[in-house]
């Protein structure tokens, strides 16, 4: 296991280097000028020329890449062109918010989605299954933007049960988590249902029933565990994407997470902020994938990394 972990972490390095190169190149061939956003309106061209020089923006690409990479190796993601603040600090300040929202959304998606999927597979074609299949269909189809605003209108503006947006206590987490998790609830429900249905046809389920095990034990212990693998894959992928920032949900709910930071950085062409964010989020994504793989082994003893 330790050897596997070490190997996996080692393999991550070239991946990250690749990310670094691609992000750097893409940003530097994209149009737009960070200096324009720095100086605002009414800046004379001499100011712009001076700042470009100050930021090494006119140096040849390879030299700039070396300068940047040298910083990364020292653990320095650089400072924002716009705010002058260190990028790493900005990301670390916002990441806990993103983590909180991702955990809440995932909790909702896993518990809701798996419950719906299991019950649906247990009595396929029943009224619960049919309503939930429709619900899952709608859940996947509705755009996040629309769902978020609708939830705000109903639960905050009309009913006054929850605050419309912002961060604070648990109450602030409910609506954004629902909005963000809704799609995953639907996907996980459908995955669970399909996998469970297949598993419940298997011979060993018939044997389990034949030896007189209770229905709950048959479905949950013998059925679910075997149906879990594809579901874990979906959970891992969705969680990874939540952790790397949910721009729409964070924007609608004024949630101060990394998604909005990245969006702002892109709109201002804040190169160090964009590159630093991409790198940071790649590390997060890779780590989530690694954890997913480890959970695989736990769920299915046939998988072994030794």
């Amino acid at each position: 296991m330790t050897r596997f972990l070490a190997w996996r972490l080692l393999v991550v390095l070239p991946t990250l280097f690749g990310v670094l190169v691609v992000a750097f190149l893409l940003l530097h061939v994209a149009p737009g000028d960070p200096v324009q956003a720095m100086v605002g309106e009414r800046a004379d061209s001499a100011t712009i020329v001076r700042l470009r020089a100050e930021l090494h923006l006119d140096e040849p690409l390879p030299k700039r890449f070396l300068l940047y990479t040298a910083g990364i190796v020292r653990g320095d993601l650089g400072k924002s062109y716009i705010t002058g603040r260190p990028i790493l600090g900005e990301l670390l300040h916002r990441f806990p918010y993103t983590l909180r929202l991702a955990l809440a959304a995932m909790l909702l998606a896993v518990s809701g989605g798996m419950l719906v999927g299991i019950v649906g597979a247990w009595r396929p074609g029943g009224w619960f299954d049919r309503i939930m299949t429709l619900g899952a269909y709608l859940g996947v189809s509705f755009p996040v933007y629309w769902v978020g605003l609708l939830l705000i209108l109903i639960f905050a503006v009309q009913l006054h049960w929850l605050p419309p947006s912002g961060s604070g206590g648990l109450a602030f987490l409910v609506l954004p988590a629902l909005t963000l998790g809704m799609r995953s609830v639907a996907v996980i429900a459908r995955m669970t249902r399909a996998a469970m249905q297949e598993v419940l046809q298997a011979d060993y389920i018939r044997s389990a029933r034949a030896i007189g095990l209770g229905e709950r034990r048959v479905v949950l212990r013998h059925g679910l565990r075997n149906a879990l693998l594809p579901v874990i894959t979906v959970i891992g992928l969705d969680f990874g994407s939540y952790l790397t920032g949910s721009i729409l949900t964070e924007t609608i709910f004024s949630w101060p997470g990394v998604g909005r930071f990245v969006l702002n950085a892109i709109s201002k062409r804040d190169l160090p902020a964009i590159q630093g964010s991409i790198l940071f989020l790649s590390v997060v994504f890779v780590l989530v994938n690694l954890v997913t793989d480890l959970v695989y082994a736990k769920a299915d003893p046939r998988i072994s990394y030794d």
Binding site: A37, G84, R100, L107, L149, P163, G169
Partner: protein, 510 residues
Amino acid sequence: MTRSLLAAVLVLAACEGAGGPRSLTYYFTADPRSLDPAFSTDVPSGELIATLFDNVTQFDADGRLVPGLATRWEADRTGAVYTFHLRRDATFHDGRPITAHTVRASFRRVLSLASKGSRTWTLTPILGAAAYAAGTADDIAGLAVPDDSTVVITLEEPLNVFPKLLAMPASAIVPESIGPDFSERPVGSGPWKFVSWSHDDAVLLAANAEYWGGPPASDTLRVRIIPEPLTQAAEFEFGQLAVVEVPFSETARWEAEHAAELQRRAALRALYVAINTRRGPLQDVRVRRALNLGVDAGTMLRNVMSGRGVLSAGAIPPGLEGYDSTRAPYPYDPAAARALLAEAGYPDGITLKLWRTQRTELARIAQAIQQSLALAGVTIEIVERDASSARAASSKGEADLFLTDWYADYPDPESFNYPTFYSKNAGSGGNRAFYADPVTDRMIMRARGTPDAALKDSLSRAIDARIFDAAPWIFLWFPADLWAERADVTGWEIPAIFNGQRWRTARRVP
């Protein structure tokens, strides 16, 4: 696993502090760039700096220039030497006094940060300031401090808007020695003291009970960062925000449901299409006039902007000297537009690229322009880019047409002709039409320099009339601001200029 997840969520959750009756909540659409005045180039930081700091001069909500740290000031006969007399009772929030030396140190600091991207243009009219900023002079020749409460400023050349430049955020007065985290935890002297700032979330301010102008009517001011306009509206209807700008798409509903809460004010802002006067057929004034005749701005204003604005016949908006309400806008006349194009040598029409940013409001206007001009024989290709790329292309002169708007930096007609039409400001300086006319240049410089207010007024009108004729813009309209105010809020009005609202009289009446 599930239990530990739940525990993590619960542990991370904190309690939300409830705002009392003497607290106010306001909002920005974006996080301020920095709370260091030297780097204030964006509207949110400018608004906050007006509450946290004092300037030598400042604007009231109606956009009038009023005393700040200076109780009075006068210019000499040439209009190139200004003397400011400072009040003696002003102190920073940490108790340090503000003297003329503080003012000088503060101005030197902004200029010395030029290589870091500070906003210097509010101070560079001072004699020797540009050299000081460039590092070629050890001192600012035109900045003298004869005693503790007097600042004498000599300018490179006469400039009548100079006292207004000192009211801009970048000219705010900061303490002489400041900590390294000043941009995050500023110490000012304004009616509000800084308490905390959680990025992309909220800024909290507390009333300065010792303010020389008297303490604010409320105890705390919380400024939330809410990027989405419909969420802003929801927060207002929920009861949290004291005031909100009505989203354009919601105008009709709010006029019906919130009529009693609405406030309107003509904005010092022009919405226009910059015509690059250096490119191909656009060099011909007949083609530029044809574009103006071919755009049905009246219908667009009604349909796209719910009538929130006044059609423009020039660049100077209503509410400023130099605005001429008698001049009629270009009429909508596609036939006349075609005729003018034919006369200019384009009987088969022309094809132009119209650049725009991704603001939804601009997307609909760009489409309307495209449809409108098609009838006049002008084929428009819309180029949609993010704000940074579109502005960069326009600054380099690569865009035929650029749909954008211009906000007043300070309430003065000069803010609508010097940056936007003076030849040396072509490109990023604000003259996105690359308009260059020696006569206009001379008129602009004369209007800026004269100490005679009546002469400036008539010159401003003449400049605007000349620009209207030369048509370097497709003149669209001057938008009107529409805000809603909670029924229990008093003492607040829409500021005429972005940094004219210092939140000193606003409060909620229980």
